[in-house]
C-alpha cells in the first residue's frame, strides 16, 4: 500500500542558543504511509514540524517534498505545495463559523484574488458553492454537520481537533503533519479521530503525526520513529520500536 518517497529529510539540525533541538535528523516518508513520531518532551518533534512547514529555518540539512526543496520556502508556499499541518495548541479562528474555517482551508480559490472578485465573479461563486458542499460533506462524515454555522470557539476541544484535521483534508494536501491529534480529548473522540486518520491513506493522503498516546500510535501507524534530545534513536515498525530497549529505557526514566 505504500509507494515511493513523498518526503525526504536529510541531515536536519537546529540549535537554540547552543541547545540542540534537532541533530542530524534524516528520514523518508513514503506515499500513503502513516508515520508516528514519538519521544519525550523536548525531543525535537515539534521543531521538526516547524522546519518542515517553513515556520523555522534549519541550521543545516535539506527537505524535499516530491523532489522540491522546502528549505527557504515560506510557510504559505509550503502549504500551497500540498503540505498541511495542525498545531499542538490548536489554531482555528474561533470567531468564524465552523464552515468558514473549513472554507478558508481550500487552496487556489479564485475568490481570494482581486482579479477573481472583480472580473471572474461567476467562477468565484461556482467554486465557493462547490467548496461549500464539499465542506458540508466532510462535516457530515464526522457528525458535525449541525454545527456548521456555530462559532468555532463553541465546539468542544475534541471537536476542534477533529475540525483542524478536516481543514487539512479540505486543503487537499497530500502530506498531513498532525501535531498531537488526540492529546487531551475524551476516549470516544479519540476512537473517532483515529478511525478518520487510519482511513486517510486510502484517500491518497500521507500522514506524519506526533503523539504521546502510545496506544494510539500503535493502533494506526505503519512505522514509528522514536526521538530523544533531537536525535533519531530508533525507527521501524511499531512493535519493533516499542520493544527497543532504548525506547523502553527512555520511557521508564
Amino acid at each position: 500500500m505504500t509507494g515511493e518517497a513523498l518526503l525526504e529529510v536529510q541531515g536536519l539540525s537546529k540549535f537554540f542558543d547552543g541547545v540542540k533541538a534537532l541533530d542530524d535528523f534524516s528520514s523518508v516518508v513514503n506515499r500513503h504511509e502513516i508515520v508516528g513520531l514519538i519521544g519525550p518532551n523536548g525531543a525535537g518533534k515539534t521543531t521538526l514540524f516547524n522546519i518542515l512547514t517553513g515556520f523555522l529555518a534549519p541550521d543545516s540539512g535539506q527537505v524535499f517534498f516530491k523532489g522540491t526543496s522546502l528549505v527557504g520556502c515560506p510557510p504559505h508556499g509550503i502549504a500551497s505545495l500540498g503540505v498541511s499541518r495542525t498545531f499542538q495548541d490548536l489554531r482555528l479562528i474561533h470567531r468564524l463559523s465552523v464552515l468558514d474555517n473549513l472554507l478558508l482551508s481550500f487552496r487556489d480559490q479564485a475568490g481570494e484574488s482581486l482579479g477573481g472578485l472583480f472580473f471572474r465573479w461567476p467562477q468565484c461563486r461556482h467554486q465557493e458553492n462547490e467548496n461549500t458542499s464539499l465542506a458540508l460533506s466532510l462535516l457530515e462524515s464526522v457528525g458535525l454537520k449541525e454545527k456548521d454555522g456555530e462559532p468555532t470557539g463553541d465546539l468542544s476541544y475534541g471537536q476542534q481537533k477533529l475540525l483542524s484535521l478536516l481543514c487539512g483534508l479540505a486543503s487537499g494536501a497530500e502530506l498531513l503533519l498532525l501535531d498531537e491529534p488526540v492529546a487531551g480529548i475524551a476516549p470516544v473522540m479519540i476512537a473517532q479521530l483515529l478511525s478518520v486518520i487510519r482511513g486517510l491513506p486510502n484517500k491518497g493522503r500521507t500522514v506524519m503525526l506526533i503523539e504521546h498516546n502510545i496506544e494510539a500510535v500503535m493502533a494506526i501507524c505503519h512505522r514509528v520513529i522514536f526521538m530523544d534530545a533531537g536525535i533519531k534513536v530508533s525507527e521501524g515498525d511499531p512493535v519493533t520500536v516499542r520493544n527497543d530497549p532504548r525506547v523502553i529505557a527512555a520511557y521508564l526514566d
Partner: protein, 309 residues
C-alpha cells in the same frame, strides 16, 4: 473636523444648503471610514495614516486642477493611483513589523506627510494652503448647485461601499479576517499574509484618496490642517464607534460623528463653546464606547479584546 466654521451656518446658508453640506461631509466620511474599516476592522491593521492618504488625494486634485486645469475624472484617477502608490511605499516596510510598531510607523508617515504639505511652500502653498480650487465640471458643465455635488458624493460613496462589500463578503474577506485573528494559522493554510496586508493597505489608501479629491473640489480651499493626525484619529473613532469589521457600522458611525455635534448648535450654545464642546464630546463618546461597548454600534470585532485567539 473638516468643516470650515464661519459664523453660524444659518446666517450664511439656507437650511437646505446647510443640510446638504452636512450630507456631503457625511458622504466623504463614509468613504474614509469604510476604507479604513477594510484595514483596521477586517484585517486588524490599525493605521493612523488615513488622513495622510486623504490629504494626498486632496492635494493631487487641487494641484492638477489649479496648475493644469485637468478635468475631474483625470484628477480622481491620478489621486487614487498616487495615494495607492504611496500606500505601497508605506505598506511594504511597515507591514513587515508587527502590531504596535505598525501603528507607530503609520503615525510617523502621517507626521511626515503633514510636514511636507506644511513646509514645501512653493509646491503646496504651505500653511497658506491652496485657494481657488474649481468646482467639479464635466466637459464645461459645472456642477455648481450643492445638491448636484451631493449626488456625486453619494455616487462615489455607494461605489466604494459596493467595492468594499465585494471585498469583505467573499473568500477574500474571509482571508482578511483570518489574518486579523491568527496570522500563523492563515499562513499554515497557504495564505500569503504579507501580500494580503500590503494589498489591502494599498486599496484602503487609494479609496481615501477619492475622499480627498471630493473634499478639495467641494471646499475649494485646502490647507494642511485638514489632514493632521487628529483627522486620522477622528476617522478611527468613526470606525470604532460605528463598529469595526462591519461596513454598515462605518456608515452609521459617519452619520453619528458628523451629525451629532451639529445638534449642539440647536441647544443654543454660543458657537465658541459648541466648537470646544465638540472635541470633548468625541473624547467622551470614544471612552464610553471603549468601556461599555468596545465592538461599537454594529461591530463584531473589538481591538485588543481577545485579539489573536
Amino acid at each position: 473636523m473638516a468643516a470650515k466654521q464661519g459664523k453660524s451656518p444659518f446666517e450664511l446658508l439656507g437650511l437646505m444648503e446647510y443640510l446638504l453640506h452636512i450630507l456631503i461631509l457625511i458622504g466623504i466620511y463614509v468613504i474614509l471610514s469604510v476604507s479604513l474599516n477594510l484595514l483596521a476592522g477586517y484585517t486588524g491593521l490599525l493605521s493612523i495614516a488615513h488622513a495622510a492618504f486623504y490629504g494626498v488625494g486632496a492635494y493631487v486634485a487641487a494641484l492638477l486642477a489649479l496648475r493644469l486645469h485637468s478635468p475631474f475624472l483625470i484628477n480622481i484617477f491620478c489621486a487614487v493611483i498616487l495615494s495607492g502608490l504611496l500606500g505601497l511605499l508605506v505598506g511594504l516596510p511597515s507591514l513587515r513589523i508587527r502590531d504596535d510598531y505598525f501603528v507607530i510607523a503609520t503615525f510617523a508617515f502621517q507626521v511626515i506627510t503633514f510636514s511636507v504639505l506644511n513646509n514645501w511652500v512653493s509646491f503646496t502653498g504651505g500653511p497658506m494652503g491652496l485657494p481657488g480650487i474649481p468646482p467639479v465640471s464635466f466637459g464645461g458643465l459645472v456642477l455648481s448647485p450643492k445638491w448636484v455635488f451631493f449626488l456625486l458624493v453619494l455616487l462615489f460613496a455607494v461605489l466604494v461601499l459596493l467595492i468594499s462589500w465585494r471585498l469583505v463578503a467573499s473568500p477574500f474577506g474571509r482571508v482578511l479576517k483570518a489574518i486579523r485573528e491568527d496570522e500563523v494559522f492563515a499562513a499554515s493554510l497557504g495564505k500569503d499574509v504579507s501580500y494580503y496586508k500590503v494589498l489591502v493597505f494599498v486599496v484602503g489608501a487609494g479609496i481615501a484618496g477619492i475622499a480627498g479629491v471630493l473634499y478639495a473640489h467641494y471646499i475649494s480651499f485646502i490647507d494642511p490642517t485638514s489632514f493632521t493626525v487628529m483627522e486620522s484619529i477622528f476617522i478611527i473613532s468613526i470606525v470604532i464607534i460605528g463598529g469595526a469589521g462591519n461596513l454598515w457600522g462605518s456608515v452609521i458611525g459617519a452619520v453619528v460623528m458628523v451629525a451629532l455635534p451639529e445638534l449642539l448648535r440647536f441647544v443654543g450654545l454660543p458657537n465658541v463653546v459648541a466648537a470646544n464642546l465638540r472635541q470633548i464630546l468625541y473624547g467622551a463618546l470614544l471612552v464610553a464606547f471603549m468601556m461599555a461597548r468596545p465592538q461599537g454600534l454594529l461591530g463584531e470585532y473589538s481591538f485588543g479584546k481577545g485579539g489573536g485567539r
